[in-house]
Amino acid sequence: MSIELIPGAGTISSGLDAEQTRLRLCSANIANAHATNKDASNTYRRQVVAFESVLKAQYEEGDSRHFGGVRVSQISRDQSPLRQLHDPGHPDADPKTGMVTLPNVNPLTEMVDMMTASRGYESGLAAFRISKQMAEKTISMGSGNA
């Protein structure tokens, strides 16, 4: 157990980390929104992140001081149907039907996800600022006009 001078710093950074992962996956999804493949079954599928809260330490040690925050439990592929587009001239189009299989990425969903993630990130930063102020106050306890 390390000394945590800034209350909840570890917890906050776990939250920032998780939100960052989400942002990263959103941009990967957007970047691959039009990635096609000769083999339609290998077409890019949207990546989704799942969060889980970390409370293991609390239950094991019976100590509520060390909340673990949050972690990315898994990154999986969205199994919803892929988009089909009729474009016979496309190099990856199906020679028989002329259909191109496109990833199941919806830019709108990704944008909303990115906004939620960045709001989450910002709230983490704001929390860290408050924690830091508290630590400063604790350190200067009793000195002058603290």
């Binding site: 909840g8 939250g15 508290m134 000195s143 603290a146």
Partner: protein, 117 residues
Amino acid sequence: MIGTDYTSELISKMMHLSVRRQELLANNLANLNTPGYTRRDLNFAGALGDAVRKDDLNALRQLNPEVTMDKSGSVRLDGNNVNAASEMNEMTQNGTLHALLAKAYSTRQRILKSAIR
């Protein structure tokens, strides 16, 4: 222990509790997007009031309020009931309380020092 000032102890205990509450609020914010998460809080006002009424330093020192699961507030579709705005509000107020306590501690120390002088 000789020379232990009850008021200083009380203030530092309250500061400790507000730091613990800050940790919990930070944990709630970290889990803002965790499906099925229920927000946690530390309600130390009641227990602290009891300890103060008893006027017992040991009861105050041993005070260890339990973390409660707060099921109030609207639960989102993903089963999470953390609201960033109310969490930030609680956190800001808690931070202000902590700053106030630090100030009170300094004032108390000044009073004691001037009494000694």
